[in-house]
Subunit: 429 residues, 2 copies
């Protein structure tokens, strides 16, 4: 095989990045994967839009039919995003024997099973390195290099927008709105930032990672999600005083054949490798029974990092085609493990309360915690201002989510409690 015809669905930021890499390294592909790469068709919504890359006019099409019915096209790269029509296109392409490379986390986290089953049936490759953590190699290492491990924990900063916002709040003392606006200015956050700041983007990614790590299907809807919108500058400052940073983490753990998968802000010790991952960088921390701790760090988004992963997959798929072994790296979800509800998980908690500033208040609150089996590791009482209100910052020992929630329900009803300002889990020690 001397030339491979491929199609790209979508010519947005990432699609153009893929074209750039393919064109810039034109003379390298034969050496790197045994075949020249020919971009035969690119599916776009509008032919007339101006773009950063040049392609022959007859390569640009608005008709899916031009691609799916072209028997010479052996690989389809899907970088259009969204569920439909991406899902239908990918399924149709696989049924025509075309190999798939996708960066579509939404699709994989919701319809992964359907896609992988179809890939298996049809014997094609389905690669998706770019769907999690952009340019960082994490899917392949989990599926291959670490395949001999029983993975016990995957913990990641997998959303660059929120990490940028939290870095600005922590390092430069910005408040949430200010940092979000700065992120919008720089193009890190979208006009409607809900998917990022609400934790939903991270939830899709940790669902994909958990599925691979624990060999059991975890979908987006299985993930417990809290975003960063309730975090204040005060929480980030308190965290720092206590020796922590606050990060939005995707967390997936397995214990006794049960899996917990969640996305929420976390206090993480300043000495933990993840706490030093700042700005829009991503990092995924993996704990395996043989390898111990490992971490993968880099750009989690952006045109060229994402295109790097897509094109890396392309090199792999072409190499598989050349060696007649597409379908080699198939779905590894061969188990069915129970996914725990958030109320069953155990964690340490940071809690910030506003209470009446008078003697005996701390004792009353500590009493309620004690009644619910919640024991306190540290208490930081911030002196009351003239308004007679004190701020209480508490970190608990390990406790079940339901016990702390039950305790908080009681505390919330007490007359000495003005407000429960924030509850943030503590991880990583």
């Amino acid at each position: 095989m001397n030339r491979v015809d491929i199609a790209i669905l979508g010519l947005g930021t990432v699609g153009q990045g893929v074209v750039k890499i393919i064109q810039n390294n034109e003379k390298q592909w034969e050496k790197r994967c045994g075949a020249e790469i020919n971009i035969k068709k690119v599916l776009v919504k509008s032919k007339s839009r101006s773009r950063e890359v040049e392609l022959p006019a007859d390569a640009i099409t608005c008709r899916w039919e031009d691609i799916v019915s072209d028997e010479n096209i052996k690989i389809v790269i899907e970088v259009m995003g969204g569920i439909e029509p991406a899902r239908t296109y990918i399924l149709e392409a696989m049924r025509k024997g075309k190999n798939i490379i996708t960066a579509n986390k939404d699709l994989l986290a919701e319809h992964g099973q359907e896609l992988f089953e179809t890939a298996k049936e049809t014997g094609v490759d389905l690669y998706f390195e770019a769907s999690v953590a952009g340019g960082i190699p994490i899917i392949a290492p989990l599926k291959q290099s670490l395949a001999a491990n029983n993975i016990m924990e995957v913990m990641g900063i997998v959303n660059g927008t929120t990490n940028y916002i939290l870095s600005k709040m922590s390092k430069e003392g910005m408040d949430y709105e200010e940092a979000l606006n700065k992120a919008k200015e720089l193009g890190y956050a979208e006009a409607d930032p809900t998917s990022d700041v609400g934790g939903f983007d991270a939830a899709r990614k940790i669902a994909i990672l958990a599925s691979i790590a624990f060999h059991t299907r975890v979908r987006f809807q299985d993930v417990y999600v809290e975003g960063i919108t309730k975090l204040t500058k005060k929480d980030l400052q308190n965290a720092k005083e206590l020796g922590y940073e606050i990060k939005l983490l995707g967390i997936a753990r397995e214990e006794d054949k049960q899996v917990e998968v969640r996305v929420h802000p976390v206090l993480i010790p300043a000495v933990h490798p993840l706490s030093n991952v700042n700005d829009s960088y991503n990092a995924v921390f993996v704990y395996g029974d043989a390898v111990g701790e490992t971490m993968f760090f880099g750009h989690g988004a952006g045109q060229m990092p994402t295109a790097s992963s897509v094109t890396g997959d392309l090199v792999e798929v072409i190499s598989n085609m050349n060696h007649g072994c597409t379908g080699r790296l198939s779905c590894t979800c061969y188990e069915h493990k129970k996914i725990k509800s958030i109320r069953e998980i155990a964690a340490k908690y940071y809690l910030r309360l506003r209470v009446v500033d008078r003697p005996g208040v701390l004792a009353s609150i500590a009493g309620v915690f004690g009644n619910h089996g919640v024991s306190l590791a540290s208490v930081l009482q911030k002196n009351g201002r003239s308004d007679g209100i004190a701020e209480l910052v508490v970190i608990t020992h390990m406790v079940k989510e339901k016990d702390i929630q039950d305790a908080l329900a009681v505390i919330n009803e007490m007359s000495i409690t003005k407000s429960i300002e924030n509850l943030i889990r503590v991880e990583g020690n």
Copy 2:
């Protein structure tokens, strides 16, 4: 294929780790790679030595012939180390059609070409993830996930022993001998620590990484090497005052189709991701033209991390056998790039001198630097003690190695110079 017969050469620390992983996950292999794994033979020097793992008596042999002539053995795992007889065994096994997994950096860094050519000729797999950075997936990510990049820089802490020693010197103010002894006590350093502290172990690893990153053969003997034995507590303290940490790095860079490959102590900014990699941890920083900065972090040595990589390779090789595509991931050194001499490289330099403490001395020394085109970025003059000697710490701007060496040759001859205490390159900014 339902069962794969394998042989392991060497039952030392790593060999026993591999046996543990295979035995502990006995019921998993069929699901993970499509076949049970049967350890048919293990080659040892002495059958009687007591070991952590149990194997059937007839699986243990001292005769290579029992393995190489057994046609059922399809995979040979070489974890005996050293050049011979490992080299001969691997070559013979490949010629018999057996796939190879090795953790042997010495062998790869010196005889890589011969091994890869033989693998290509015979169509077998030759995997070696464990040869660099122990448990950290770095070979596969470089060869596969990042295959679409033109890698411009690989910079790694790839020796855990020296990183442990430098961490102790930096964090706890130990001097070199004290930290080395501590490392020996903990089993991190060998009785003769030359290979680690002399930088030779790191040199083998960076040679392997450079070969993959730049698609050109780099051998151990091509690497410029300096160890950590000349570093003093004073240098680590000065570095910290200036905002740096000192690390032993393997550095490989490509520019204009020329490659530089070296191992030596480096001042690296405290904000660089590598500067926070402490104790016996390893990390490899990779800069690719598309992906930008990435870093891979974890345990660079030890029984189970190393066995994790070996057994991960085993899963891959079995999967390749099942899909009839062994030999798929072959040697990628398809170019011949020039390797620069150390005198041609450019860097910033940290320099510590002892000079006579009197007016005009700094001017004289600065004058010599100026004459050789060396310009100074910062100067730290430590007050002379009663002995009339001052310590001068200088950091230069970017300069060619030969220019600074020529300047130092002149300075060394000046009567005001008592001694040139240390010259350390500055990287990462």
